[in-house]
């Protein structure tokens, strides 16, 4: 039985719209819980992977939450819109017990819109300080003047909401950490947290009992900024989210707008974009190798990794002009044609890298200390990986085939033959090895494509002011750390109504608590390093 028929049968009030790639279903927030349970449990489709969760402000129509679901077995795609008509007291039921990725995502929605999720165990703000006034992504938000320079007060309590007998939502406060617990603060200024991330960990001797993540120290409000920009302006911000996937992030946004406009791209653009994405992936994984090894004390590897990364950057710089924020993809193609030296230099790089990778293997991969510190540490089971939505090398290290390049091919990935690297050990070492092997696969992809770049336009003509037809669009690419998605809702104007970026890093920090419990505190550094999150991408 098809998904559509089944839903029609059980929920006659749900509005269903069929799109070529997915179903869009609108329901009222009251029936969300029941609906979600059916989607999750029904054998025929079992939507077990939540790709993205987005809060919405639809003005007069109220607030809303948009869920993007996928079933890993049956490959169905579904977009579920839950509408909350009450603007004064927006309440909705949580789904964080079904999809654990919602744990942090629902807090994000609460932070942005003030939508309270009933049943969520920890309904605090995620990014902004708890003293912050107002909810910034509401359309009628006005920022209070001034900069609060007072130090943050630590707060060990949190709040959870439930319905009493009459069905009225009530709040209940409880302690995250009890008085007698030994709590250690790590970050936000700490060299091993890869940026300004903050953990509070409760310890039992040397072992981790519980971990609490604090985000928001680099929350730049990108999504709100985008709402005040034209489409051509928004693409500049994506480079600065996950700056080690800048080309891929921008690819996702450009592709989303192009698809929405119905713009056809030449083969040449697709080839160039694909090659650039893969160069970026190599660059990112080399940096991962450098920093990850440095975190574990192997300083030599840091210099090796950076030495070879510079070679990739030289190539990228020659064509794009940038080392980190490349600004290369634009809506309708790429900024400029590839440099005349590009093909030659890429080939030189491909000839050079295998020897370097062999060197890494000798220095670090086969190192007995590295093995002892990584094997069996930070076990992330496949079920948890899907539930948390930890895509990318982290998910593939847990045996989950989650590569967007294979699932929903874009660019010219359907024309090249490459292997999706999957390992079943589920530990930090597996995640490390997946990344190392992915460098080789990326090299294979580039090798296949580099000689066959077809002639054609490097940029299609677009209008000076781009207007996207009304509707909602979701596009994803495989960035260096997983699925980077762009959810765009347009009302036909020249500014996007809502632009949400599915962060690759948020699911990764969401799962740190689960996988580090019971491990030693020193292993937290190894686990964090092997997940390889980039903090500005988490906070956006």
């Amino acid at each position: 039985m098809s998904v559509q028929n089944k839903i029609n049968q059980q929920f006659p009030t749900a509005q269903i719209e069929e799109k070529p790639d997915r179903l869009i279903i609108s329901i009222n927030a009251e029936s969300l819980r029941e609906f979600a349970l059916m989607l999750y449990n029904e054998k025929d489709f079992r939507f077990d992977f939540m790709r993205s969760l987005t809060g919405m402000d639809w003005g007069e129509a109220g607030f809303g939450v948009v869920y993007h679901l996928e079933s890993t077995d049956n490959k169905h795609q579904l977009e579920l819109k839950a509408i909350i008509p009450d603007r004064e007291k927006p309440f909705i039921d949580t789904v964080s017990d079904l999809w654990k990725t919602a744990l942090l995502n629902e807090r994000e929605v609460y932070d942005y819109f003030g939508i309270v999720f009933i049943g969520h165990p920890d309904m605090r703000r995620l990014y902004l300080r708890k003293e912050w006034e107002g909810f910034p992504l509401r359309k009628d938000y006005v920022r209070a003047e001034g900069l609060d320079m007072s130090n943050e007060e630590p707060d060990d309590t949190t709040v959870t909401w439930y319905r009493d007998e009459k069905g009225i939502p009530q709040a209940r406060r409880y302690n995250l950490f009890e008085k007698e617990e030994y709590v250690v603060n790590i970050g936000p200024q700490h060299p091993a947290t890869h940026g300004v991330l903050r953990f509070r960990v409760s310890l039992e001797g040397e072992f981790l009992k519980k971990l609490d993540v604090y985000c928001g120290y680099i929350h730049r409000g990108v999504e709100k900024l985008c709402e005040g920009m034209t489409y051509q302006q928004t693409i500049g911000l994506t480079d600065r989210l996950d700056y080690l996937s800048s080309l891929q992030n921008r690819h996702a946004l450009c592709m989303c707008v192009e698809k929405a406009m119905g713009l056809e791209l030449s083969e040449r653009i697709q080839y160039i974009r694909t090659i650039m994405d893969e160069l970026q992936r190599i660059n990112s994984h080399l940096l991962f190798f450098a920093t990850f090894c440095m975190d574990l004390g192997a300083l030599t590897s840091f210099f090796y990794g950076f030495r070879d990364r510079e070679k990739v950057l030289d190539i990228l710089e020659e064509t794009t002009g940038g080392r980190l924020t490349m600004h290369y993809n634009v809506i309708g193609g790429v900024e400029d044609d590839i440099h005349p030296n590009f093909v030659k230099r890429v080939k030189e790089l491909l000839a050079y890298l295998p020897a370097a990778l062999e060197e890494y293997r000798k220095v670090f991969t086969e190192n007995v200390i590295a093995k002892n510190r990584l094997i069996g540490v930070g076990h992330l089971s496949r079920e948890n990986a899907i539930s948390f939505g930890t895509t990318g090398p982290t998910g593939r290290g847990s045996g989950w085939a989650c590569d967007v390049r294979k699932r929903i091919p874009y660019g010219v990935y359907d024309k090249v033959d490459f292997k999706e690297v999957i390992r079943g050990e589920c530990d930090s070492y597996a995640r490390y090895l997946v990344r190392m092997d992915e460098i080789k696969e990326s090299m294979r992809i580039i090798e296949t494509l580099i000689d066959n770049i077809p002639e054609g336009n490097f940029r299609e003509k677009t209008k000076a002011v781009i207007r996207v037809p009304e509707g909602s669009y979701y596009t994803a690419v495989e960035a260096s750390r997983g699925e980077f998605g762009v959810y765009l809702e347009s009302n036909g104007e020249k500014l996007p109504y809502r632009l949400k970026f599915r962060s690759t890093g948020l699911p990764l920090v969401a799962c740190v608590d689960t996988i580090s419990r019971g491990e030693k505190i020193a292993d937290l550094i190894a686990i964090g390093g092997s997940l390889d999150y980039v903090v500005p991408d988490i906070d956006r």
């Binding site: 320079m149 007060e153 940026g195 409000g221 709100k224 911000l237 950076f306």
Partner: protein
């Protein structure tokens, strides 16, 4: 006149890089003029120079990075750009041991008190370099609700390095500018702040420890 000029050059010299290749020389020359006018004891002056030579050539940065610029800062520390050539390589994770802070990356409203506190924890004499557009003015995020529009609102900045992110060469240039500035300062009676008494120190520590409870 000629003698004066060569003296200036000598004071703000960076090994093997010509004086004229630096910009903003007039700002440093102004500092030299002031120093000359005020005059100083010969012994103190000589000691100053010796100490400044040591300070200027072993500036230790604080490992501090919030976003994109931090990656370029790492690149400056790595093999190709290698800031060790200028005595800057000993990046310290603790503010107590650092001479200057490279504010590399956007500073948000939530981060601002943390940054201020880090700065307060550093020992005098201390310096601040603002790296990248975000720290200078808010950069591409200027209109955001949660970004500080320039860290000069909260810290005294010595050197600004524009760029988004600045190239490693630009960062090296900025750090060398700081070295030149350090070499010109009077150590005794100026940047070397009088030490606090033990009692005052205790009180400050107490305030720091109880600030959060």
């Amino acid at each position: 006149m000629e003698i004066g000029k060569s003296k200036k050059k000598e004071l703000v010299k960076i090994k093997s890089i010509p004086y004229d290749e630096f910009k903003n020389n007039d700002y440093l020359e102004e500092m030299v003029r002031e120093l000359n006018e005020n005059g100083t004891n010969v012994i103190v002056g000589v000691l100053d120079e010796a100490i400044n030579w040591g300070r200027g050539n072993s500036l230790w940065p604080l490992t501090f990075a919030t976003s994109c610029c931090g990656i370029e800062f790492m690149a400056v520390g790595a093999a190709r750009y290698d800031m060790a050539r200028f005595g800057l390589e000993v990046a310290r994770a603790s503010p107590r041991q650092a001479d200057f802070i490279m504010v590399a990356g956007t500073i948000t409203d939530k981060m601002a008190p943390v940054l201020k506190r880090l700065y307060d924890q550093m020992a005098d004499p201390k310096y601040v370099i603002a790296v990248g557009g975000c720290t200078i003015s808010g950069g591409p995020f200027k209109h955001s609700y949660h970004v500080v529009k320039g860290i000069d609102q909260i810290l005294p900045v010595d050197v600004f390095i524009p760029g988004c992110p600045p190239r490693p060469e630009a960062m090296l240039y900025g750090m060398m500018q700081l070295q030149r500035k350090v070499k010109l300062q009077r150590f005794f009676g100026d940047v070397n702040k009088k030490e606090v008494s033990e009692r005052e120190y205790e009180e400050m520590m107490k305030r720091d420890m109880t600030a959060n409870s």
